[in-house]
Symmetry: C2
Subunit: 101 residues, 2 copies
Amino acid sequence: MFEPLDPVLHSQLRLAIMSLLVGMESAEFTYLLEKTGATKGNLSIQLSRLKEEGYIDIKKSFRNNYPLTSCSITKKGARAFENYVKALSGYLSGEKGSSPD
Amino acid sequence: MFEPLDPVLHSQLRLAIMSLLVGMESAEFTYLLEKTGATKGNLSIQLSRLKEEGYIDIKKSFRNNYPLTSCSITKKGARAFENYVKALSGYLSGEKGSSPD
DNA sequence: AAAACATGTTTATAATATAAACCAAATATA
DNA sequence: TATATTTGGTTTATATTATAAACATGTTTT
């Protein structure tokens, strides 16, 4: 009934990042920063974690002389997100069972 | 879009406990132990945390000479659970927006 | 009486999330 | 031309969490 929740995704910020990325080709650091409302430090760390896990790709380049960090979800990441949502739904249903007492 | 998630409920075990309790009058320690698959120590601590937060009531008594811990959800806890589910749904939808790049 | 069981709690440790401080380069300003 | 500010991040430090392991207290069995 309570399948274990992927600890990588069971994080407010990482989940928000994945939720955004799953719906678009790619997103920039500053865009994620604004949409999630996170601090830069936290965002930086959680992006690294997601990349380390193979859930996203990170492409670093320059635009107008400034660094530009672009993130996109991987197949693996998309699958993990889907599984997480599925597993989580088991926790949210508020099961109507008979009282065990 | 990404409302903050109640940190008290954003915990695998605490969420599982609440999910069970929301569907029944009350549940015993050993029942929760079996249903959640948690260790006794972890369960004990997370129950204390939920009580401390006013999300559950804990009634200690004896049955057949053995200690018996019974837990039930409070109004406040039920509301918090509902709110958590609502807030979380904002993270799971996989928004289809135009790519910002 | 000794060993094993029931029902938890407390303590110690490892992992996480977060904010704060830092850094390097680019641009604006005095 | 200094110097101050902005951009776009990374690193470090700290507080919180989750978890397992050890402990406690009494009960039942042999």
